[in-house]
Symmetry: C2
Subunit: 425 residues, 2 copies
């Protein structure tokens, strides 16, 4: 089926232009003046912006079930008293329910692709397939230096690779997900790296999130986290490191030299009081920095429009310089840099790119008067302004109505799953 | 007319309870089990939270016309090259148009009262009256030590007091608005103070927004801004000081001892890279700190739900302590502290309080699963979740449809006004 988006105001990091967009199958095939009869389905985009779908490069989707259960706590209390006790009781059904809810939330706020690390990832994949989104998924591996645990974790990762890599018409790919340098043994990290490189897979890992982590790694290995990962030969262009809050100048060089991809998570870093990542510095070094929401337990939503604004604001106040991280810079992080990070042929609106597109209604009071589209997207917009979402050439939401699944039913399933889960812990 | 809000989940800083709310004229007259025939108009609040309307204690409403025209700039460039040249061409019509747009935006995102300082304030008052909101308004006075200018500014302030104080059934009150200690002469400040105290009016002023301001005031008077204002006898419980970013320990004592009200504007302070206000410290001292969005040119929206979240996040990361500024603290800032600041009998849902209420739909994916209402309001909600807004016992928006004015027409009027204004500068 072909889709014609007519009268669009097309906005990506390369600029703003008017025109129509023709989609055939999963790709953009034509941009410009296009006859109406060329499209099977016509979408009138008058008064709409068409932007590349936003790309969330660090999430734990099923954690939507934990939204709002614990806030304003020290990290160890939050983990030990709330998150870990609940995670013990997770199962396939709960993770499926949480993932469905997360998918709906992402669709409604304009996200078309994401990078997810969690548990029961075949259930998560099922939800993603159902909802039509694009994702890189990974089983989160933690071995705490226990050899048996390591073997189990690697086995589960391989199971997910075999079962899910390339599923949903290729919309889902599987990465390796060693949780972090402080929760994984050197052996696990090395095995992961070897397996990923051999099979051309991404690696998704948390690095340098908190000051405590830096201290732990220094005590254990005599080096800072990125120095250690470099030392053991773990780093490469397929590594997506989430957070990267506390970095030395030397570590920024290591990231750059290894072409490591960084996922910046400002809301989570602020809410958990982890710290402020030197994003502007990394962008100045041409490091690929993208944007992530982290899980809903530490955010507490998955709204990339909000994340863009807060990312820009945080760099400005951190450096006391309002020119840091401009609207365009942060829009690039959420689109083209996300696409580079996940290896997706998207992030720009060009012929040959995947048809992962989002329509934004500019006839809203918070986007009036209509001036600078990228400024409005970053500083003024909210999820409510997203009206239509297309992924892989399929319409997932049209005029604010989710097409792929019954939204109310998903909310009920998630509410029930969360109830059950809380009653067990 | 009476309004019965039935099956409500009532949420204010005192807690959460179920019940119905009866409104007669402008007030809440009954809460609990109420028969349906007691209300002329019934609102079913099943699946809704009812919260006190949010109170925005620092805005420049008509600046919505400048939304998105200039971002990511040094403050002096932003003011000198963009804002001031445009402001020269303002007139009654433009300020009315911008104010209408701002009112709609506030209604849609759950704000019921605000504190506005700008120009052509009788036009702003007309817009507020039309849209049904509650406000304290003030003419922004700047004399730059020029005696003639001072006289003109005070004359204009007095004109607005006479014309607008108590208008719109008492929903509008007028304050005195000396812009700041660095743009106003000592004489203007003293005259303002005397006039306000004599006539029982509030004073709305910007204080200690930037490091440059601290430097200027120290050079000019040998003291820091709040020390200087204390020294000339300006401070008192009727003073609402916006920003208060750079404060010494001594100044925090001065604020406390004079019972000065502080309006915290985190988004504006971040976007303009002004700095981070020590809000947690001030709250620890029992200073009344409320929340403001500032004008749309430096935000770029007027969404208090977003402002609450960013306020909480910013304190946490600033102090590297996730327990700082909890969801409940920041909800108090946006409700009861705002009411105390503006002298409004609202901010809590109790019999005898003004019927300034907002309904939030919790059956939304970003508020699912439904757990802690205040956490969800602060960390997960966005403007889209607001469905119904009541001010002074009148329904301004019902089920997402603005009742008091045609929203589309307002957007057109504002778009045209902004076009004209930009073409002149």
């Amino acid at each position: 089926m072909s889709i014609l988006i007519k009268n669009a105001k097309i906005v990506d990091v390369k600029g703003t232009r008017k025109g129509s967009i023709l989609i055939e199958d999963d790709k953009i095939v034509k941009i410009g003046d296009i006859r109406e009869d060329e499209g099977d389905k016509i979408i009138d985009a008058s008064d709409k912006l068409v932007i590349p779908g936003l790309i969330n490069t660090h999430t734990h989707l099923s954690m939507t079930l934990f939204r709002g259960i614990a806030d304003d706590l020290q990290l160890h209390k939050w983990l030990e008293n709330y998150i870990w006790p609940l995670e013990k009781h997770l199962n396939e059904d709960y993770c499926y329910a949480g993932a469905l809810l997360g998918c709906i939330e992402m669709i409604k706020s304009g996200t078309t692709a994401f990078n997810d690390m969690y548990f029961y990832m075949d259930s998560v994949a099922k939800a993603i397939e159902k909802c039509g989104l694009r994702a890189v998924i990974s089983h989160g591996m933690i071995d705490l230096n226990n050899e048996d645990k390591m073997k189990k974790e690697i086995k589960e990762s391989k199971r997910i690779v075999k079962k899910c890599h390339g599923m949903a018409d290729g919309r889902i790919s599987v990465a390796l997900g060693p949780h972090s340098p402080y929760t994984c043994s050197e052996k696990l990290l090395k095995k992961t790296s070897k397996y990923a490189n051999k099979n051309n897979l991404k690696i998704h890992i948390h690095v340098s999130e908190t000051r405590e982590e830096i201290k732990t790694i220094k005590e254990r290995y005599g080096m800072r986290p990125f120095e250690y990962l470099d030392d053991i030969g773990f780093l490469g262009e397929n590594v997506i490191a989430a957070h990267a809050v506390w970095l030395s100048e030397e570590e920024i060089k290591i990231i750059k030299n290894n072409n490591v991809k960084i996922s910046h998570n400002p809301v989570s870093n602020m809410k958990l009081a982890s710290g402020i990542s030197p994003v502007s510095k990394m962008l100045d070094e041409n490091i690929t920095v993208s944007l992530g929401t982290d899980g809903a337990a530490s955010n507490n939503n998955l709204d990339m429009l909000e994340e863009m604004k807060i990312a820009a604001l945080l760099q400005k106040v951190h450096y006391l310089d309002p020119t840091k991280l401009s609207a365009k810079d942060v829009f690039a992080m959420a689109t083209i840099n996300g696409a580079k990070t996940l290896g997706i042929n998207a992030g720009l609106i060009e012929v040959g790119k995947k048809a992962d597109l989002v329509l934004i209604n500019v006839k809203r009071c918070n986007l009036t008067p209509f001036r600078n589209p990228i400024s409005h997207l970053v500083y003024s917009a909210n999820g409510y302004n997203v009206t239509t979402v297309i992924v892989d050439g399929k319409i997932l939401m049209e005029d604010n109505v989710v097409q792929v699944i019954n939204e109310k039913e998903v909310m009920e399933i998630a509410e029930n799953a969360s109830d059950e889960l809380l009653s067990k812990s």
